[in-house]
């Protein structure tokens, strides 16, 4: 497998990969697959019509993991990739995705990943997605991920979506549809700086009785960056849904938080919360009385908030 030092660093940032992962994986660098492994229970096939892969996980697969990180280190590369995950019934798997872009050139680099999950009955999926950008070129680092999740009866999906550093512009769209008894938990962590722009859109439809969703976004907007957090839960059955946007604003950052609910069933129980504020002065003072400088205190508060 040929990957250079920059790519290796990006793989570490987005997938905590220090070496070849165990289990199934597909490593993609600069638009090409640079490594793939399948297991007895997990098959990965390249799509023939568009760029991307189909991942098929056999029913009953437990305690296995799939890593599919993508890195771009060539300036000016633009790609749209379609990855479909077919998770059989009664599975329990970890899926680690993510994209790292290093752009030292003057042309924009862009990766739009479209991930679709078809989660079988009673299956449990933990999905971790990290986005990261680096490089000091004038070219922008653009990421527009689309995540679609179709959850069958009594399935559980825990999603951890993290974008902490270096992505110039992002429009993240997540759509989920839940059948009876299905449960979705989303924890999003966003930090923007410089003049970055981030749009995060969630559309969760609770279609089956007993389904539930908990969508929580925590974000920090620094410098002159802009964020729009648009989190909507639709209750179409006897279900329960909660959506929360909690943000820290700094410098000249701007944030628009739009948590919303739509109840189409009298038995839908839905709650939303939103809060935006700067770091409280008393929080800084408390940490300073413990011996931290103001800058160290700020860093601890943000690290804790985004943890």
């Amino acid at each position: 497998m040929k990957i250079d030092e920059v790519q290796k660093r990006l793989f570490q940032e987005v997938a905590d990969l220090h070496e070849i992962p165990e289990g199934a994986y597909n490593l993609r660098a600069n638009g090409e697959s640079v490594g793939r492994n399948t297991t007895a229970n997990i098959d990965i096939q390249s799509k023939t019509d568009v760029s991307g892969i189909d991942i098929r996980i056999k029913a009953g697969t437990k305690n296995e993991s799939i890593h599919i990180p993508v890195v771009l280190s060539e300036s000016g590369l633009k790609e749209t990739v379609y990855n479909d995950f077919y998770v059989g019934e009664d599975c329990d798997v970890l899926i680690v995705a993510g994209c790292g872009i290093d752009n030292c050139g003057n042309q924009d680099s862009q990766h739009d990943g479209i991930h679709r999950f078809f989660v079988g009955k009673n299956s449990r999926v933990r999905y971790v997605e990290k986005h990261y950008g680096s490089g000091d070129g004038k070219g922008k680092r653009l990421l527009n991920p689309v995540t679609e999740v179709y959850m069958d009866e009594n399935s559980v999906v825990d999603m951890e979506m993290v974008q902490i550093k270096g992505v110039d512009s992002t429009e993240r769209t997540t759509v989920a549809e839940l059948k009876e008894g299905a449960k979705l938990n989303v924890r999003e962590r966003l930090m923007t700086h410089g003049d970055q722009k981030a749009y995060s859109i969630y559309r969760v439809s609770l279609n089956g009785d007993g389904s539930s969703a908990d969508v929580v976004s925590r974000s920090v907007a620094r410098d002159t960056s802009y964020q729009k957090l648009d989190l909507c839960v639709n209750g179409n059955a006897a279900c329960s849904g909660h959506t929360e946007c909690d943000s820290i604003i700094m410098d000249n950052g701007k944030i628009l938080a739009v948590p919303s609910l739509e109840a189409n069933s009298v038995d839908a129980a839905l709650v939303h919360e939103a809060a935006i504020g700067k770091i409280a002065g008393e929080q800084l003072i408390k940490l300073m009385t413990l011996g931290l400088t103001e800058a160290e205190a700020e860093e601890q508060i943000i690290n804790g908030f985004l943890k």
Binding site: T289, L290, G291, E294
Partner: protein, 242 residues
């Protein structure tokens, strides 16, 4: 240990200047347990904040272990060995009890070390170490964690601003026990507590009565207690609990 020389503080409100502290001279010796009492609005909390560096005095000088700290920042005073426990402990989303204790200790405290400080304030580390210091904790729990952060620091002067404020009776009794233990502990720390609770006043080496921004009385507990017993400067939290 700490010398306050002619400390004053005035604040402007609605175009009017009010003097909160009026030229206080105070000498706080090493290894003492001192309780500062007095009526509400008498300047007690402001004085505590002046010592910690949170409030800048409008006049006077502070000398700590021979060094003039009047213009020192909060951070530098903390590093010099001054600890301050807030009347209303601050909440943090995301920071855990262990994070806070580690920041306080200034090192990567092990869970078992953190456990020592938590058990000193009557909390079981197993239940609390991973808890976020947020609104899910009760007032009493926050107060005890606040005290544990002071214990985790190696301070020579610990200032507690009304530790009993805003807690329930059950927690109050536990809190008193913590201070009684702190009093008995064989360390070189000087403890200054702002309080008008009789049970804290009784265990003081010295009581300072502050009223209208000035020291109106000062002396050993057995001398001062008879003068203030039953007044609003020495209150019982609940007569039935005595």
């Amino acid at each position: 240990m700490l010398e306050l020389k002619n400390i004053s503080f005035s604040a402007e409100e609605g175009g009017k200047t009010s003097e909160i502290i009026r030229g206080i001279d105070l000498d706080i010796p090493d290894n003492k347990f001192i309780v500062i009492t007095g009526p509400n609005g008498g300047g007690k909390s402001t004085l505590a904040k002046v010592i910690a560096g949170i409030v800048e005095p409008t006049g006077g000088q502070l000398i700590f272990n021979g060094t003039d700290i009047t213009n020192m920042s909060i951070t530098d005073r903390a590093k010099a060995g001054i600890g301050f426990a807030f009347q209303q402990p601050v909440r943090f989303k995301g920071l855990t009890v262990l994070d806070l204790l580690r920041i306080a200790a200034g090192k990567n405290l092990s869970v078992s070390d953190a456990c020592v400080y938590l058990s000193e304030v009557g909390l079981c580390a197993k239940d609390y170490i991973k808890r976020e210091v947020n609104a899910s904790l009760s007032g009493g729990e926050l107060k005890r964690i606040e005290i544990a952060t002071i214990m985790a620091r190696d301070v020579s002067l610990a200032v507690f601003d009304e530790p009993e404020a805003g807690i329930d009776l059950w927690s109050f009794n536990n809190l008193i026990r913590i201070f009684e233990n702190m009093r008995k502990a064989d360390d070189k720390r000087t403890v200054v507590v702002i309080s008008h609770q009789e049970r804290l006043l009784k265990i003081a080496d010295e009581i300072i009565v502050l009223s209208d921004g000035q020291v109106v009385n000062r002396g050993p507990a057995d001398e001062i207690m008879p003068l203030i017993m039953g007044s609003k400067y020495a209150q019982s939290i609940c007569p039935k609990m005595e």
